[in-house]
Symmetry: C2
Subunit: 386 residues, 2 copies
């Protein structure tokens, strides 16, 4: 694959942008593992044998000054760019802006992305995380509810240890969408000397009371499922119905009615089962959403979902400490991080003397425009990084 | 109370509006019961001994041409105006615009409001409804899941029978918020010859696919609660946790972050239980929302909740049949009936030659502005009725 990557880079250099050819899409990334023998949480608990996965593209330059960190969203992983193999159907979620010749140009930058602690997708291949689904080395069993609570600040501290391990003293930028944006703000607040700039996409420095309540509403159905069993379901049937119910709400909230218009079809779920004739007869849109959430829930650990909700509720980057020039991206129709809320944070940052630019992506996908529509602001992000 | 009402009316006539004095607020209404020995649903099922409650204020004139029907929202009842007794703490939900000298002037109009079928508040005093919580006369036990599915069109058909029973051949107007607006549109579509005008507030003629999916997401936690037991919980513990979880989502969606700002307080639910220290340690906002939903769930029947969700999903007033002049009210920040969706419906009505006016209420309460903020358009509604 090395040859393809070089050819891709060459093409990109000639054209000034990456061509949409197969060559350019074939940046191959490899999952690596970062380990800490012991990590002390913000809440003063200890996690032994902590592991998170990470991926990288590009080359770290001699003075290690060209690193960019990508932080992932709630349901995301470190797989922000490239493919794991040439045969992969899909590339990482922000592959449209990260790669050779792309706005976050891996010919210039060394781009790192890591799985968070308590990552949702504990049961997915290529995700390495530590959380309640992890085997507790002291007992040989999954931690379950004995895993300590962690917050976004813990995610950032662990990433800091990873970045330190690479010998990088200063990041060109931290860029992330949604929960990734919470992390970007927290990076700037926790390590102002290490972060040259941040690009928080569809995110504020902290959730407002409304979002804290919504996150609690996402979590509630999991706990309601009798299979959750106080978090002790390992080796038994997991609480998939609770998770699916949770994802129904989270999915609808993170999308938009325009997305529903193009995704779902009207009518009954089964042609011979009129919803008017029995309570159990569903609409097609309900069945389609159910399929979508079932696919989603299959690789998710329910306890890690609950812990991730808590981590987001606990996010609280101290705006007064954020000095890094900021490019904040909003999207209209976002029902998680409302544009007006982002604008309020931007106004506070500006009042503190921080340089902030505001840009917008549009599309039919609500909050998800921040992931799916990112190429709309690719050029702006590229220029901001210079 | 008759004297107070006359004095109130006199004051209102003199001033041209109702004064905020205790007199004016003391319109006393009485719950009455309308019965149908047998009702055949849109789905061709039969409901025996159907009963719904209704309330009225004002006096029906000699030619019975001054009646206005108020249709209620999802969690509402017929109690739109007046008090049940002078000692009541609160009046009906739209008392600010309905009463002597008020925009919907009970000195001029005979104002009727009825409880719907499968009303949510089956366990509340002063609510009379027929649904799965009702005793099936054939078995002497609650219908449960054997109750036939009903839709908004059934609500309207039953109201039509009530209106017929009063000898009213034509309604001055049908006015309702949210689900009440679905009913207003359905009235105009089902009985164009009987409806002079409609005022659908924060509503469209039918839910879009997104709202059908959301309604399904509201219902899902109830079914997930093991106490729901396939709908057979009468005489046992009802599925209150499922209902509370459902109301958490429905409540947040029907309000707005500005409402959360003024309603909830930051910090931990219990001062000595830091949310950072244990997954079970909640934020104050979660506990406050929990209290709110617990109060709400106390008078609600879980099966009627499921049936009411279905009734709303089935709403589908035929726009091409709506000829009644329409005053449609929207509110920005409405996450149930989005203003843009109402505007689309209004455009379709106009394209069909129907006279439509559009007005707006504002406030911090999202969708609920249509109930709490209605006095902002009181004058406009009053003028529209003339």
């Amino acid at each position: 694959m090395r040859i393809d990557r070089l050819r891709c880079a060459a093409v990109a250099v000639v054209l000034g942008v990456c061509t949409p050819s197969a060559f350019c899409q074939d940046v191959i990334v490899e999952k690596r593992i970062f380990e800490l023998p012991s990590y002390s949480t913000v809440g003063n608990d200890t996690i032994k044998n902590l592991k998170i996965g990470w991926e990288a593209a590009g080359t770290l330059n001699a003075d290690k000054s060209n690193a960019i960190l990508i932080t992932h969203f709630f349901s995301g992983t470190s797989h922000a760019f490239g493919k794991y193999s040439a045969g992969d159907n899909a590339a990482g979620y922000w592959d449209s802006i990260i790669g050779p010749g792309k706005p976050i140009d891996t010919n210039k930058y060394y781009v790192v992305s890591s799985d968070t602690l308590v990552n949702l997708n504990a049961n997915a291949p290529n995700v390495v995380t530590t959380g309640p689904a992890t085997i507790d080395p002291d007992t040989g069993k999954p931690y379950g509810m004995r895993f300590p609570v962690v917050g976004i600040k813990d995610f950032v501290r662990v990433q800091k240890a990873l970045i330190d391990s690479l010998g990088v003293r200063k990041l060109k930028a931290v860029v992330g969408a949604s929960m990734g944006g919470l992390q970007a703000y927290e990076w700037a607040a926790s390590y102002p000397e290490m972060v040259e700039r941040i690009v928080p996409v569809v995110a504020t420095p902290a959730p407002d009371l409304y979002l804290i309540a919504w996150l609690g509403a996402w979590a509630a159905p999991v706990v309601l499922d009798p299979r959750w069993n106080g978090g002790d379901y390992y080796g038994k049937e997991p609480p998939l119905d609770g998770l699916k119910t949770a994802f129904r709400v989270a999915t609808l909230q993170a999308f938009h009615y325009e997305w529903a218009d193009k995704t779902f079809r009207p009518g009954p779920a089964e042609t011979d089962k009129d919803p008017r004739k029995a309570l159990a007869n569903k609409f097609k849109v309900e069945a389609e959403l159910d399929n979508l959430t079932a696919r989603r829930a299959a690789t998710v650990d329910a306890n890690q979902f609950l812990y991730l909700v808590k981590a987001n509720q606990l996010a609280s980057a101290d705006i007064s400490r954020i000095k890094a020039p900021t490019l904040a991206i909003t999207t209209p129709g976002d029902a998680i991080f409302y544009p007006a809320r982002v604008e309020q944070a931007v106004a506070q940052l500006k009042a503190n003397g921080t340089e902030v630019e505001l840009a917008q992506v549009t599309g039919p996908n609500g909050h998800w425009n921040g992931v799916f529509g990112i190429s709309q602001v690719g050029e702006k992000i590229g220029a901001f990084l210079q």
